[in-house]
Amino acid sequence: MSDELLSQDEVRAALRGYFADTGGLDEARRLRDAPADDPGYDAGRWKALAGDVGLVSMAAPEGAGGLGLGLVHLTAAAEEAGAVLYAGPLRASVLAAWALGSAEADFDGVLTGAETVAMPQGFAALQPGLVLDGDGLVGGSVPDAAHGMTADVLLAIADTAQGPCAVLVRLGEEGVTRTPVAATDLTARPAALRLDGVPAVRLTAPGDRAALGRVGDAARLLLAAEQVGGAQGCLDHTVAYARIRTQFDQVIGTYQAIQHRCAETAIAVSAARALVFTAAVALDAGAADEAHRLVLLAKAEASDAFEGAAATLIQVNGGIGFTWEHDAHLYYRRAKATAAYDGRPSRLRDEAVASGALALLTR
């Protein structure tokens, strides 16, 4: 596959094909009743997705043997993963590979997807709970690192004397304690991590807020893309049920109240998808200020779209939609939780305006 020729439509199609072949929601379904320390995903399948499908190397810098593709492609992939509530370490792993431009250490495993990555659920808005000292050792805690029980590497933000920076930490080292954490989103599988003098590699220069901001914006945007995918997944399941369920001798999908509720969901999903897309284009183009505002708005819209779509999924399914066995609550849980990570919509909108979003009106 030549990088020039790999369009985001092709990325979408490849991931859609992969998830269709691997049972779609099956992996997520299993997590309804899995213990908290279950990794949440099949390691073999993750390797296939990361390596064979080329998900992680697609994002990795060209110098490191990747395709050097941007966030436009990664968000398309994250959307497809979100649609089936994929619980693998996709967001953290592609983000780490994408951000690994100038790191001085050897993280080939991250670049190929052989090493999996954990990161805090709300990466962009989090106050760093880690401190990086002058000897390159990190200490402190991350209360909810997604995939924290199994990941090989942690991507997080640490404070230094010169200010915060993004770091990578090998979790196999001595001084790492992992504890499973219960979470509303049953597909999240977070762990609390305690780090005690563990070697860390800086991904951004200490105090370089612009560089850190870029990683934060990318993290928030990938989360928003997963939400758009989640909303699309809800819509697909809603429509599928509306086409077969009969009441009053009619398929409920013929009722206009149901049709319009589905159509409104489709419109909200399209709007959120468009915002994610345009924010990704801006981030890829290096328009940092504009991208930051767009990312805030995109995450807000994507949260609303996902929450709305998940509520519609339950409503259109009727009573069955409120059962433990049904998939709806898996979506609903993730919608509610992800809307809270990295800032609720109201907070993000406020921040967007405070950071000059009005200028987007006339761009």
Partner: protein, 413 residues
Amino acid sequence: MTETSTAGLAAFRAEAEEFLRSIAGGFAADEAARARRESDRIASVEELGEGHELQVERVRNLQARLFDAGLAWPSGPVDCGGRGLGRDHDQVVDDLLAELGFPSREVLFVGLHIVAPALDRHAAPELRARMLPALYRGDAIGCQLFSEPGAGSDLAGVATRAVRDGDGWVLTGQKVWTSMGHLADVGEALVRTDPDAPKHAGMTMFLVDMRAPGVTVRPIRQMTGGAAFNEVFLDGVRVPDAHRIGAVGEGWKVAGTSLGSERKTMVGDDGPVSPYALGRLAALVERLGAADDPVHRAEIAGTVASVVAMKAAAELPEGAWGSLGPASGSVLKMLMTRAVDRMAGLAGEVLGELAFTDSGEPDTHAWAEFVLGAPALHLAGGTDEIQLNIIAQRGLGLPRPPKPARQTTEARS
């Protein structure tokens, strides 16, 4: 769509800019043009009514100069006065016209974006070759004769009849809500040619000469006060068969081309979410310091998001639409009406009572017209409810509602 190199586009832009600057003086010197630019007016639907003849002449003049310079329709076919370039070239000209303060070409909207696409795609070569240049040169202003008093959302219910008469047809019936009908030279008329065929099959499209005997146009006053739409009576109007657009009985297909193009264009820069309106709104919010007021921030963010989403959705690659593709025009139209609502809502919120009583302060009461125009957009080009039906049925594949059982004579008695 033709692919364009960045260099090619830049060269085209330079050429267009040089030409437009060379004629800008003539338009800027025009009293009425200056008055319009300097006036406070800001509308979400255009209000061309009485006294706008001068403005119409100016737009015709502008369009002719553009056409003769090869800038009226860069993406159009060469044999009809276009240049066979990519659509991004059209956009370059539109952007430059707005930047340089040329008068709005709204009056040409129906002809260029509703009638012309139907002619381009479905008309016989002779009609196409004659009418497309006329529309694009501004020599012919077009209107859309689709809606009837009894056929709005149910457009396939049109009752206006066309009966064959020698080498032509005779049209009789009534159309309504005809935008620009009072200024139009030609009208694209959807009429019934076979009352016995199934509803959607018995229709044919014609291009009607609006000055022909038997055509009567009566203005209807809009709730905004202006009179940009009309009722049109067709009383035994003779139309040559050469003015048929598409095959007999294929009118519904031709209408589909026009409606699809109408919806798409409504989200473009020529539509109500214009760079001009957005610039005015941004300046208003800025002037009032509304972004510093926590009360207004959610509304500002929501407005910005809706506008950006609309524009970005129009740029989404094919694959992003998935199965929704065939209904993307309806989604875009809904995103447009939302953006307009939010813009009107934001202006109304930050101005409060200032918007609704004329205090004489500039850029305040002007926004009331924008607010008042917004409901039209939820109707024109197909109502919200119809768009939602299209999205649900054509985009999401939900089943059509069952037809109501025909009342039989027995059941009624």
